[in-house]
Symmetry: C2
Subunit: 354 residues, 2 copies
Amino acid sequence: MNLKIALLGGDGVGPEVLAQAVKCLQSVEVTFNHHFTFSPALVGATAIDQTGNPLPDETLEICKNSNAVLFGAIGDPKYDNDPIAKVRPEQGLLKLRKELGLFSNIRPVRVYPSLIDRSPLKKEIISGVDFTIYRELTGGIYFGEKKLNEKGTVASDLCEYSEKEISRMAHLAFKAAKNRRKKVTLIDKANVLETSRLWRKVVTRIGESYPEIELDFLFVDNAAMQMILNPAQFDVILTNNMFGDIISDEASVITGSIGLLASASVGTDFAMFEPIHGSYPQATGLDIANPIAAILSAAMLIEHHGLNEEAQAIYMAVENAIINNVVTSDLNPDSRFGTDYVGNYIANSIVDTD
Amino acid sequence: MNLKIALLGGDGVGPEVLAQAVKCLQSVEVTFNHHFTFSPALVGATAIDQTGNPLPDETLEICKNSNAVLFGAIGDPKYDNDPIAKVRPEQGLLKLRKELGLFSNIRPVRVYPSLIDRSPLKKEIISGVDFTIYRELTGGIYFGEKKLNEKGTVASDLCEYSEKEISRMAHLAFKAAKNRRKKVTLIDKANVLETSRLWRKVVTRIGESYPEIELDFLFVDNAAMQMILNPAQFDVILTNNMFGDIISDEASVITGSIGLLASASVGTDFAMFEPIHGSYPQATGLDIANPIAAILSAAMLIEHHGLNEEAQAIYMAVENAIINNVVTSDLNPDSRFGTDYVGNYIANSIVDTD
Ligand SMILES: [Mg+2]
Ligand SMILES: [Mg+2]
């Protein structure tokens, strides 16, 4: 397979962790006989510094001409601490999502048995956790009409959803469940909210065309409890933008290894893959950042393009590194291994087991 | 002090746990020389069965003529499983809150050292947790305008807040913090929502008249993480209706003892106190329900009326029962003690330590 991949390293440790992901993709090329082309492009604070624009036209062009975007991280304290800054690095990411029509955010959460002690939850609760969250990313209350009366004494936010916005999310979630444990849990508040009732109606109807998938419903307040009491019950979680924001962030801490979490943002025509961790500016250039989330993002990228076996090879190489304790110091304080060493080790462990 | 207390036992185990709370209040009367009058009244499924109305006028009258309402629990499977039921027990509670103007829900969460092993979180994380959540209860998106277009393809919910709704909540939270560790954390999503920005503005301004109180802000997605990573950081949490629903339910499971949680719903003129657990219908009359949440609700009631020392005496009596393992079987599977025995034990341990 030929794949054109836009490489948007961004700020802080973004470029260095992305470099490790590229090594792994190159290892996949050789091992499985594919051809990947990498096109680096500027984004974020780095782009502002060099062009004045957090998302230069050239970057957008490169992304639109690629099969997928591999993204590092964004954000620089220089801009965060400047209240009068007119352009901000984060605007680059928001604009990119919008321009590419990325309406869905996908976050896998799984526990690595050898890291289970890092979880804030007890072992028996977190053991076996392996689920994926499908969060709607461009609708709902975060993007609805905002009002403030003239006196500044009454404010409002509108949460709106259309059948179309819901159904494209539902299809993604049901399709994902087919390749997993065949269960979708819709998180909503249908006992109170009209938008939630529409979600439930549309998702239920679409579920009928996926008869092999079990469809469950959970109110968001109960879901926030279940994520702590029994997270292993989840397979595919489907939810709106705001509930997804809250529940996916809650979910990101239960394994105790936030540095290992990758994510995808997917639309009809484009898809982007990135670690959920930030730009970690104080670690820039120190060769200490954990490259695993970036490497797993690359695995999600090729999996998205149907290279399942190849993605599995990356997942196994990552597990192998974790089991053998070839990890950065965030996972093992006694570790002598840096970003680059761990990246090489994982890239070199990618093998075709067939 | 003279206090008129309306007793709304409600459904399931509600009446039996409330009976234990009354014993404790009677013990407070004798020990501290107060006079409490108890007026029982019907509510919920019991009220439907006897009068056809989940909140009979007489009950509302009794509540309005009392200094406080002590509430048991509501809900009966007979109505839950009947999709064509026109009146539902829960309507009684919703109407009561509305009629009494109870705009604020207050939920204390604390860990009992002797029960710490019950928590789904690791001991070092849950140890020392002791905070109270102030949730706005009658505004926001749960009560905002709901729309569905004619075709049924677009739905919306409006989240609206006024300065007045926010400021009365803020005063409650700051006042509560005065008697605690002097810290208020406002949970919002001010980086995205207009209503959250109004909350932040109003709460910040009111905070200036409480200079001894530290005011912190936390985005709701981050709060959902912090509740798992470091819940001991919280003292008083202040938040809107929906965020409060999610965060307070998440908080209710971190101690592992949901059967011990009491709550208050407070308005300008009235206040109601109730366990957060449900009516637990399958346990009705079996003398196995845990009475502690109801007893702690009674403690919150008298504390609300300024009887701090008396409330402390109840809290100490409860702790004493837990430490001596005089608890129901939900807390200790080997327990031989029933609802009534535990209630008597706690009531008899209430002493004036002065
Ligand atoms: Mg978030
Ligand atoms: Mg709730």
